[in-house]
């Protein structure tokens, strides 16, 4: 049996890092074993648009050099997948859209460059809803990703591929983006940890833009320690993104062992409205556990305007998208229809053929919200509601370190169940959207199961206090083992001996 066949791929990133340093195997061997497992799982879950074997082996060879020289960072040699919305030099970046077919970026996004400097090994580009617009990964031009816990169900979205491959133990770490819940909701539906950083914590340079005032890049992993390490590697000021904040990046790892003593957690009832019974029970059990182990929990926190976050979001995000996506004109890059009689005609045809139904729906919705006669009633009104939601969250967090809720109203839904009903799909983001509207950080961690499907617990914190989210998550994970559960598909896969 080859060395690759004996590598335990069920390890977390920090366990892999220890094995690499101990010389149990090389980073190249780990990369080969990882890619073999991904290829084995792809027919079932389709978590990737591109598997970047060549790049992975080059990254891994460089990592082995650093490991030998004693110059390794925490992520050196660790396999990672990036949502295929993050530009990677020399590796196709599609945003899961036909309109970017054949597009290969000339440079890395800042987060991709930082991971390369950290020595991480890029094994592939993960599937997503086209331009990150969706909550199920069914709106990908490359076909849906399936949930490793039940192949008839969605993994959530839009970062469904990034979540599914971590859940299936394909890779220990991945990056997604979260505009309205696109990291936290798929993390919840696949039983992994996902963190949306504070707006401005992580650079968006080189990330295909959907709704620029709302979105952030963030980590997926299986435990708080791994997520902390990945956030530390990508966070901080970037001269190429003027919306990154000049706020020092704290030592997240140092927060992990601080426990629950002295933490004040508020529970807003409004973020439980519409939750399925099993989800509610799992989250109630988590609340009891946290309260019994040192946290002080307050019920009945008021967020009266949070109900309006969803409609406000579905006006603001499409409005920004309609402007951001104006750049896809088929002139400078990507697919172009070059048979039309005139420039405008060609552009309309390029965009009509290149964008999928959900992207068209959002562009049209955004164009409507911004157009003369409707601007005040829709877009401006939504922006004012945004102010109220932010003020309410700030007030609630003045008295509490964290706000706790379910991440999503229900567990993973069936493929096809909501794809033709946009409003039903949008309602999956009910509990996650307020954090984006306000710019606050939030995390989802596994908190139980309903009929064999994972349930996520969401913690929302003050701006730039990701350390507190990670601290509470680490403490909760020390008391529970939900985050260690793996779907049968991952356990059945070859690789582990």
């Amino acid at each position: 049996m080859s060395v690759e066949g004996t590598i335990d791929l069920d390890r977390t990133a920090h366990e892999h890092a220890r094995a690499l340093r101990a010389g149990e195997h090389s980073a190249v061997e780990l990369a080969r074993a990882t890619i073999a497992r991904i290829r084995e799982q792809e027919p079932a879950i389709h978590a990737y648009i591109t598997v970047s074997e060549e790049r992975a082996l080059a990254d891994a060879a460089a990592a082995d050099g650093r490991l030998r020289a004693g110059d390794a960072a925490p992520l050196t040699g660790i396999p990672i997948a990036l949502k295929d919305l993050i530009a990677t030099e020399g590796v196709a970046t599609s945003a899961a859209s036909r309109i970017l077919e054949g597009y290969v970026p000339a440079e890395d996004a800042t987060v991709a460059a930082r991971l390369r400097e950290a020595g991480a090994v890029l094994v592939g580009k993960a599937n997503l809803d086209e331009f990150a617009m969706g909550s199920s990964t069914e709106h990908s031009a490359y076909g849906p990703t399936r949930n490793p816990w039940d192949l008839e169900r969605v993994p959530g979205g839009s970062s469904g591929g990034s979540a599914a491959t971590v859940a299936a133990r394909g890779v220990p770490l991945s990056l997604g983006t979260d505009t309205g819940g696109s990291i936290r909701q798929p993390a919840a539906l696949t039983g992994v940890v996902g963190l949306k950083p504070t707006y401005g914590r992580v650079s968006r340079y080189g990330v295909v833009a959907f709704a620029s005032s709302l979105e952030q890049v963030g980590p997926f992993g299986r435990d708080a320690k791994d997520v902390a390490a990945l956030l530390a590697a990508i966070a901080g000021l970037d001269p190429c993104d003027s919306t990154t904040a000049p706020v020092p990046v704290p030592d997240y790892a140092a927060e992990l062992g601080r426990g629950l003593d002295g933490l004040s957690i508020g529970v807003p009832d409004v973020l439980f409205e519409g939750a399925e019974e099993g989800v509610r029970e799992a989250v109630e059990a988590a609340i009891d556990l946290l309260a019994a182990n040192g946290a002080s929990v307050t019920r009945g926190v008021q967020l009266p305007t949070a109900r309006a976050a969803l409609p406000a979001y579905y006006l603001i995000a499409p409005a920004e998208a309609s402007a951001n996506l104006a750049r896809y004109d088929g002139v400078k890059y990507g697919a172009g229809d070059t048979d039309g009689p005139g420039l405008w005609d060609e552009m309309e045809r390029t965009r009509g053929a290149g964008f999928g139904p959900e992207v068209k729906r959002r562009i049209m919705l955004g164009t409507y919200a911004l157009s003369a006669g409707y601007y005040d009633a829709y877009y401006l009104k939504a922006q004012k509601v945004r102010t109220l939601i932010r003020q309410e969250l700030d007030r609630a967090l003045a008295g509490h370190d964290l706000l706790l809720s379910p991440t999503a109203p229900g567990p993973a839904f069936r493929l096809g169940e909501r794809v033709d009903d946009p409003l039903a799909m949008y309602l999956s983001d009910l509990y996650t959207i307020p954090a984006n509207i306000a710019g606050h950080p939030a995390i989802s961690t596994p908190a139980g199961f309903v009929a064999g499907l994972p349930v996520g617990l969401q913690l929302l914190g003050r701006p730039f206090e990701e350390g507190t989210l990670l601290r509470a998550t680490a403490a909760y994970q020390a008391l529970t083992d939900w985050h260690t559960r793996a779907p049968a598909l991952a356990l059945a896969a070859g690789g582990a001996s």
């Binding site: 000339a106 109900r307 309609s322 890059y333 990507g334 420039l343």
Partner: protein
């Protein structure tokens, strides 16, 4: 509220997206459903509330004006669907008639 097909076509022209008749019908229904749902916003009192355009508290961020490398022209042009020498080629912008 139901949007008229002509209104959907007008929006599609503004957004520069070609739609076939089926798509127009579909979007008429979808947009109407969403806009009806969004009416709950009208019930919220926002008198005197300033709009928030951005989650960031930063204003007028400046940076040092220093020269740094940019992409080579060939790197950029090689990604265009249609080019001619060092130019991007497009159809006439103005109607020739």
């Amino acid at each position: 509220m139901t949007l008229a097909a002509d209104e959907v076509r007008r929006l599609a022209r503004l957004a520069r997206v070609a739609l076939d008749d089926d798509e127009v019908e579909r979007l008429r229904a979808d947009l109407s459903t969403c806009l009806d749902h969004f009416r709950v916003l009208a019930e919220i009192d926002t008198d005197g509330v300033p709009p928030t355009a951005h989650a960031s508290a930063l204003e007028s961020v400046e940076r040092d004006d220093v020269v740094r490398p940019s992409l080579a022209a060939e790197e950029v042009l090689s990604r265009a669907p249609r080019r001619e020498g060092a130019y991007l080629r497009v159809r006439p912008v103005l109607d020739p008639e």
